[in-house]
Subunit: 458 residues, 3 copies
C-alpha cells in the first residue's frame, strides 16, 4: 500500500507489527535473487528505500512549482498574481494539514476509527504525525521496518499537495481566495486522506475490492479532478466564456513559456511520483522496477504529446501547443495507475490514448458549459479514469469490476463531499468574486497588485 503496488508485503508488515517486519525484509531481498549475488545489507536496504522516498519526494514537491507555472501561464495576466498566491498557499496548507490530520487518517496501521483490516477499513486514525526520535533510526518507531518514517511522511505529503494543486487550475479567474483556501484545508486534511486510506492505507477498496492504483491515477489525479468538477459546476463559467448563442469564446493564456515550463517541471516531477511509488529500491528487483517505471513514465508522456500533436494537426489543420502540453500531462496521468507492468510500447499507447482523450474532452466540456480554465478535468479526471481502467490490460491481478467500482466509489465520495462543501462555502461566505471584480481581474480586485505591472495590455 502507500502509493504503490507492494500490497502484500506491506499488509504483512502492518499485521505482524514492526519487530517481525524487520526480520521479514531481508528474506524479501533474498527471494528476488535467484543468481548467486550478494544481498545488500539490511542497513543498506533501509537506506536505499529511504533515499528513494527523499528523491521521489523532492521531485514531487517540484510539481507544485509546475502546477503554479502551468496555471499562471494559462490564465489572463489580470489573474496571474492571484493564481500564484493560491498555488503557493495551497502547498503550504497541504503541508500543515497532512501533518495535523492527514497522515494518520491515511495510514492508520490497522487502528481504524471505522472498520478493520479484516472487514474493511473506512475511516483511519486521528492524531498528528510524529517522526521517530533523532538518531535513533531503525530500532524505534520506523514504519514497517523498511524505511524511515520521516522519508515516508515527506513523500506521501507531496501526493496530498498534488491533489490540491489540480483543483486550483480549473477554478481560476473567478473563485475568491479564502473560500478556495478553506476548501483546500478540508481537501488535504480530510477528503484526500480518507479516500486514500481506502486503497493505500489498506482499507476496504484494497482489501475487499482488489483495487489497483500504483501511483494514483484515481487516488490522486481523479480525486483532484472530481473536486474541481464539483467546484466548476457550482461556481459557473467565467464571464464571456460562453455566448448566449452557446458558442465558446477562446480565452488565451497570457504566457505560454510559463505553461510550457510548468509542463516540463511536471514531466520531471512525475519520475518521482511514479518511480517513488515502487516504495523500495533496496534490492536488485526493486531498482530494476523503479528504472522500468522511469522509462515507461517518460514514454507515456511522449505518447500523449505526439498523439495531441498529430490529432490537432489533422482535426484543426494547426498544431495547438496547449493541447500538446495537456496531451503530455494526460499521458502521464494515464500511466500512473500502472507504470510498471506495461512494455515500453504498451506504455506509449496508454499515454497516447490519454492525449487523444484530451483533444476530444476539452471541447466536450465546453459544450457542457463546464469552464475548466487549464484543462485539469480532461487531464486529471478523464485520463485518470482511463489509466485506472487500463491497468487490466497489463496487470493480471486487476479486475475490470474492481477497478470500475473503485473509480465510482472514490468519485462519488469526493464529488458529493466536495459539492456539499462548495455549497456551504457559497452560502456562508460566497465563493465567487463580483462581476466587476472578475472583469477588473482578481489581482487588482482582491490582492491590489499586478503580476506584470509594466507590460501594457493589448
Amino acid at each position: 500500500m502507500r502509493a504503490g503496488g507492494k500490497d502484500n508485503i506491506m499488509k504483512l508488515a502492518t499485521k505482524l507489527g514492526l519487530a517481525s517486519a524487520l526480520v521479514a525484509l531481508p528474506s524479501m531481498g533474498l527471494a528476488q535473487d535467484a543468481v548467486p549475488g550478494v544481498d545488500a545489507s539490511s542497513d543498506s536496504i533501509f537506506i536505499f528505500n529511504s533515499l528513494l522516498f527523499l528523491i521521489g519526494g523532492f521531485l514531487v514537491m517540484w510539481m507544485a512549482a509546475g502546477f503554479a507555472m502551468l496555471e499562471a501561464g494559462l490564465v489572463r495576466s489580470k489573474n496571474v498574481a492571484m493564481q500564484l498566491t493560491k498555488n503557493i498557499s495551497l502547498f503550504a496548507i497541504a503541508a500543515v494539514m497532512y501533518y495535523l490530520i492527514g497522515y494518520n487518517l491515511m495510514y492508520p496501521l490497522g487502528n481504524w476509527s471505522v472498520g478493520s483490516d479484516e472487514t474493511g477499513g473506512y475511516l483511519g486514525a486521528f492524531g498528528v504525525a510524529v517522526l521517530e526520535a533523532v538518531g535513533v533510526g531503525r530500532d524505534a518507531a520506523d514504519d514497517y521496518g523498511y524505511a524511515s518514517t520521516g522519508s515516508d511522511f515527506y513523500f506521501q505529503l507531496m501526493f496530498c499537495a498534488t491533489t490540491a494543486s489540480i483543483v486550483s487550475g480549473t477554478l481560476a479567474e473567478r473563485i475568491k481566495l479564502w473560500p478556495f483556501l478553506i476548501f483546500t484545508v478540508v481537501l488535504t486534511g480530510l477528503i484526500y486522506p480518507i479516500q486514500a486510506s481506502w486503497k493505500w492505507g489498506g482499507g476496504f477498496l484494497d482489501s475487499q475490492y482488489g483495487f489497483l492504483d500504483f501511483a494514483g491515477s484515481t487516488v490522486v489525479h481523479s480525486v483532484g479532478g472530481w473536486a474541481a468538477l464539483a467546484g466548476a459546476l457550482i461556481l459557473g463559467p467565467r464571464i464571456g466564456k460562453y455566448t448566449k448563442e452557446g458558442r465558446t469564446v477562446p480565452i488565451m493564456g497570457s504566457n505560454l513559456p510559463l505553461a510550457t515550463l510548468g509542463t516540463f517541471i511536471l514531466w520531471l516531477g512525475w519520475f518521482g511520483f511514479n518511480g517513488g511509488s515502487q516504495l523500495a529500491m533496496g534490492t536488485v528487483g526493486d531498482v530494476a522496477d523503479v528504472s522500468r517505471i522511469f522509462a515507461n513514465t517518460n514514454t507515456a508522456a511522449a505518447g500523449g504529446a505526439i498523439a495531441a500533436l498529430i490529432l490537432t494537426q489533422v482535426l484543426y489543420k494547426k498544431v495547438d501547443l496547449t493541447m500538446v502540453l495537456n496531451g503530455a500531462l494526460a499521458g502521464l496521468v494515464s500511466i500512473t495507475a500502472e507504470p510498471l507492468t506495461p512494455t515500453l510500447g504498451g506504455a506509449t499507447l496508454i499515454g497516447a490514448v490519454g492525449g487523444v482523450i484530451v483533444v476530444f474532452a476539452v471541447p466536450m466540456l465546453d459544450k457542457l458549459k463546464i469552464d475548466d480554465v487549464v484543462g485539469a478535468i480532461p487531464v486529471h479526471l478523464i485520463a485518470g479514469i482511463w489509466g485506472t481502467i487500463a491497468v487490466v490490460f497489463t496487470n493480471s491481478d486487476a479486475t475490470i469490476g474492481g477497478q470500475l467500482i473503485s473509480i465510482i466509489i472514490v468519485g462519488a465520495f469526493v464529488f458529493v463531499v466536495s459539492g456539499i462543501l462548495w455549497f456551504i462555502l457559497k452560502a456562508v461566505m460566497g465563493i465567487r468574486v463580483s462581476e466587476e471584480e472578475e472583469i477588473t481581474g482578481l489581482d487588482m480586485a482582491e490582492l491590489g497588485m499586478e503580476a506584470y505591472p509594466e507590460f501594457s495590455k493589448s
Copy 2:
C-alpha cells in the same frame, strides 16, 4: 563541522587523521543499531555519504537559479538584464574563488594560519583546493575517510555561492556591475570562508563557544544579510523610494511569476541545503535524520508562508503575494540553524515566527530608509538571527550565550569588513550608477540591452 551538526565525529576524524577515521566509521554505524541489523559495508557508507553531498550539492546549486529568478521578478523591467548578469556572474566567481582560496581557508584541517584547534582557530590555511587522483578513491587523499573530497568540495562551494546570491538582491537597481563583482570576489574568497571556518572548520566559535548552526542561519544567511546591509547603508536608497516627507513609495516587481518560481526553486533547493548538512547518510540513523530534516524544512517553509498569508490579510485586509513568498523563505532560513531536533510542530512554529518577522521587518526597514529591493535583510539576516537563537529551544547542547555571542562576532566581523570594502570601492571607482543611468535603468545604461525589448512599458 562542515555545514552540519556532526561536530564530534568530524573533530575526531580530523584529529586522528585519515587512517584511524577509516577504522572509526564502521563502528559508528554499529553503535546506532541496537536491533540485529546488518551494517552497510564501509564502502557503501562512503558511497552513501558522497552521494548525499552530490545530491545536496546540485539542489543547492539550483538555488542560484532561484535567487536569479526571485530577484529578476522583483526588480523593475529596466534593471532585469543587469540583475541576471549579476546573478550568473557571482555564481561563476564564487566557484573560482572558493577553489582558489576559500575551501582551504574554511577547512584548514588543523593547519591554522592563526590559532590552533586547541586554543581556537582564527584564520585557516591558504592554498588552492586539490581533489584526489582519478580512480584512487578512499585510500589516498579522501577527507576524513568518510566521503570523497570532490563531493565535499562541490557541496560546500554551493553554500559559499548562496551567500553571495543574497547580497545582490538588496543592492539591486542602483549598484554598478563591476564594484559588485569585485565585492563578490572578496566575499566568496575571504569573508565567507574565514567566518565559516570559525564554526564549520572547527575554529574558535565551535571549540570555545559551543556555537551551533546546523546548516547556516548565521554562517550563510546572516552573513549574506550583513554584507547586504552594509552595502545598502553606504549605497543609499533608490531614487524615488522615499519622499522628502518620509513616505515610502512602493516599487513593484515587474514579473511576479518569476519571483514565485524563484521561491519554489529555493524551497526545493533547501532540502539539499539542510538535508545535505547532515553530512552523512550511510547509516540507518543518519538517513533517518536526513529524512526528518527534509520534513522539518518543508513544514517550516509552510509555516512561514501561512503566517505571512494570514498576517497580511489581518493587517492590510489584502494578502500580499511577495510577503507570502518572503514568508516561506524566512521560514526556511529560520529552520536552517537546527532542522533536526524540532518536532514537526516545533518546526512549523519556528518557521511561522520567521514569516511574522518578515511582515513586520519589511516596513520597519523602510522606516529606517534602508532600501532592500527584494527583502533579503528581513529574510536572511533577521530571520537568520531568529533561527540561530531558536536552536536553544530544541537542542540542549546549545546555550543562549554561545549563540548570541557567535551571532554578534560573526555579524560584527562581516558588517565591518564589508563596510570597509564598500567604502574603498566607493572611493576608488564609485559603486553607484549616475542619477540619469538609474532613471534610464541599468540595462540600457550599463549593458546596452533590454530584458524584454518587445513589451512596452506602461
Copy 3:
C-alpha cells in the same frame, strides 16, 4: 562505452556475455580498494549504478526544459509559441524513436549489421528496445550485469534527445514545424544512434581509432551542431538579419530571464550529463570520480562565463549577458569530452577557452552570413571540437590523431547526411515559411496563437 570512459570494463563485459560479467564486477570493486575496506555487496553495486543512471537521467531530461527556455527567451515574441512547440515535440519524438530504433542501433552488443567488434562496427542492430521482465532483476536480461537495462535505456535516451534540442535553436524563427519534426525523427532514430555506436557502442572509432569522448563533446554536442549547421546553410538567414551592404543587424531575444533560466537549468542538468557518464558509482573509486566530475563540470562552466564576462567588457566596453550565458554553456560543452582527468584549475581553463571561443565565433558566423539564432553552433559545435581536442592535454590515453580523425569522420557523416535530408525535405515539402509568414511570425502564421497575447509589442 556507453556515454563514458569505462571502455575496457564494458568491452570485457560485452565479449564475455552477461554471466561472466556478473562474476567480474565484484573483483573490479576489489581492485580499487587497497586499504582494508569492506566492499559494497554485488547487489549494492547494481543498485548504486542503476541509481546513478536514474539521477543522471532525470537531470539530463531537465535539460530539455533548459533548451526550451533558452530558445524561447532568445527568439522574438512572435515566434515563441512555435519554439516551445518544437522543443516539447522533439523531446517526445526522441523518446519514441530511440525506443523503436535508436537504442539497439547504438548498442548492438556485438550484433553489428555491418562490421564486427574485431574489425570495427559500422551499423548496429535493428529492433525495438525491450526491458527486462518485472521484478526479475539481475538474473535475466540486465545489461552487462551491472545495472538495470531500464535505467540505462532511460539515461541514454536523454542524450539522444539533447542532440535534437541543439538543432532547434539555430534554425528558429524561419523553419516550418513539420519538416523540422521529420528531420528530428531521422536524427534521433538513425543519425545520432549510428554515429554514437561508433564510439559508445564499441564501434570502429572506439576499437580502431582509440577515440575518447567521455560524455559527448563530439558524440552529442558537435553532432547537434553539424546538423544545425547543415540546416542553417540550406535554410538561409532570417529576413533582415544581414543587410545588402553586408552589415549584421542584431535581433534581440524577447525574454532574457527565460534565457537565463534555461542556462541555469542546463548547468544543473550537466551534472547528470557528465557525472552520469561515469556509468558506475558502486565502488569508492567510481563515486569519487563522479564527484570529481561534478566539481570539474561546475568550474568549467564558471570559467566559460567569466571569460565571456571579461572579454565582452574588454572588447565592447559593455558586458553582454547573452554572451555570458553562452560562455557558461560553452564551458560546459568543452569539459564534456573529458570531465574526469583535469584538475580543477585545468577544467577552469578548458571551460574558459570555450567562453573565449563563443565571443569570437558568434560574430565570425555572422560574417559568413550563417544565421544561428541562439548561438548553438559556437557553443555546441566549435566548443565541442575544442573540448574533444583538449582531451589530449589531460588524458594520456588520447591521441591527437585519434581525436581529430574521429571529429572529422563524425562531422562529415552528420553534415553530409543531414544536408541530404534537409535538401530532400526542401524539395518535397519546403522547409521555410513564406516571407509573409516569417514577418508575421510563426506563432500566428503556423499555430494561430500567440505566446504573450496581452503584452503589446513595442
